[in-house]
């Protein structure tokens, strides 16, 4: 038992010593490894800078060569354009000159042709004028005859129309006066009926007024004794009619 306890205590002590050593070693390791790490980083940094410088130099050279090539291409193109423009201008002038010649020839021919057509047209129009003149003389003669006939027939129509108009006016007058008379008679009948109805209404209202006045007056002027007597009269009348025998 004592042995076990001693072993257990030794183990615990050993564990604590180990932990202290590890902690110390860690601290020392960090202390040792930090400059190594620093050196590695610096190396890597300088390598990276070299790579970047190389890349930049290379890029610059590529740019310079590209620029030279582009300038060359541009100057070649400019020369080509110039050449093309000169040829184009030359051809255009040739075409224009040719076109002028053709137009001149064509216009001379056209002038001849149009002159011919104008002469023919003049001849035709003179002939047509003569014909038209003849026709118009004929037409005016015919028109004057026709207009005379039309005037005559219009005159006859006027007379007939006037007669018919008179007859129509007379008829309308007669119809209108008949209608007016009818309307007047209807209106008179309506007024009479209305008057009668109003007077009947007035009569009824008068009777109702008299009844209401009688109601109010009798209620207020009769004495209690008279009221009693009226009730007795009513009961006696009911008895006479046999109401209480049922």
């Amino acid at each position: 038992m004592m042995t076990l306890l001693a072993v257990f205590l030794f183990l615990i002590f050993g564990f604590f010593v180990l932990v202290a050593v590890i902690i110390r070693l860690n601290v020392r390791l960090r202390y040792i490894t930090y400059p190594v790490y620093d050196q590695i980083v610096k190396k890597a940094q300088s390598k990276a800078n070299d790579i970047i410088n190389d890349a930049q130099t290379h890029a610059q050279s590529i740019r310079i060569s590209a620029q030279e090539t582009a300038e060359k291409i541009i100057s070649d193109r400019k020369d080509e354009n110039e050449k093309f423009r000169e040829e184009y201008t030359k051809h255009f002038e040739e075409i224009v000159a040719h076109g002028k010649d053709v137009l001149t020839n064509q216009s001379a021919e056209l002038t001849k042709l149009s002159q011919k057509m104008v002469d023919e047209f003049k001849e035709q129009s003179i002939a047509a004028n003569v014909l038209v003149h003849k026709k118009s003389e004929l037409i005016s003669n015919t028109l004057s005859e026709e207009s005379e006939q039309i005037k005559q027939s219009f005159a006859e129509m006027n007379i007939r129309t006037a007669k018919e108009q008179c007859i129509l006016i007379e008829e309308i007058k007669k119809n209108v006066s008949e209608e007016i008379a009818k309307e007047i008679s209807i209106a008179r009948d309506a007024i009479t009926a209305y008057k009668k109805e109003r007077f009947n209404l007035l009569d009824r209202e008068i009777v109702e007024l008299v009844k209401e006045t009688a109601r109010i007056a009798l209620n207020k002027t009769l004495s209690l004794r008279e009221h009693r007597d009226q009730i007795l009269i009513a009961l006696k009348e009911a008895k006479q009619n046999g109401i209480f025998d049922k």
Binding site: F199, L202, D203, I206, V207, V210, K211, A214, R215, I216, L218, N219, L222, L224, R225, H227, R228, Q230, I231, L232, I233, A234, L235, K236, E237, A238, K239, I243, F244, K246
Partner: protein, 177 residues
């Protein structure tokens, strides 16, 4: 209903509401007599004691004083409530003439009508009175669940033609041809 105490009561009372009131008054009177050490029997001079104690109206005092001794002797201490209940029940079966009058008539006037009704219609008939000013004159009444109108309207209705004839042709109206 022969020999019922209600018969004696209705001889001096014509109106149903008065009958109901008087039955309840009798109840109060007998309560007073039997339960205030006045003894098991009722005597007429005890009415004055009751009147002094309760300050009843003169009509009520006169009614109680006018009751015959034979009527009062019917009521005993242990049976008066039953008798009064029976009277109330019998009252429901009495023939009723419900009259609607134009004005409120005093008791004497209603008494005259009640007397005529007992003589001409039925000796046990009781009146049920209500008021309606619109009647103006006369009355309406209900007999055996049928309403009869003998008011001013009734007279107007029965003489309508005569009214119209008298009022309308002789009434001077401008423009009436």
């Amino acid at each position: 209903m022969i020999d019922s105490p209600l018969t004696s009561l209705i001889q001096c009372t014509y109106i149903r509401s008065d009958l109901v009131y008087r039955i309840s008054l009798l109840g109060e009177f007998f309560d007073f007599i039997f339960f205030t050490d006045r003894g098991p029997f009722v005597k007429k001079d005890m009415v004055d004691h009751f009147a002094n104690q309760r300050k009843e109206t003169p009509q009520d005092i006169d009614f109680l004083k006018d009751l015959p001794q034979s009527f009062i002797e019917i009521f005993k201490r242990d049976s008066f409530r039953k008798v009064l209940d029976k009277m109330s029940e019998e009252l429901q079966h009495l023939p009723t003439l419900s009259i609607t009058a134009p004005v409120e008539l005093p008791t004497e006037q209603m008494g005259t009508i009640g007397k005529w009704a007992r003589e001409s219609i039925d000796p046990n008939v009781v009146l049920d009175i209500s008021i309606d000013e619109t009647i103006s004159v006369g009355c309406r009444f209900v007999w055996k669940d049928i309403l009869y109108d003998f008011s001013l309207e009734h007279y107007f209705g029965s003489h309508e033609k005569e009214l119209y004839t008298r009022l309308t042709p002789s009434t001077p109206l401008v423009g009436h041809t």
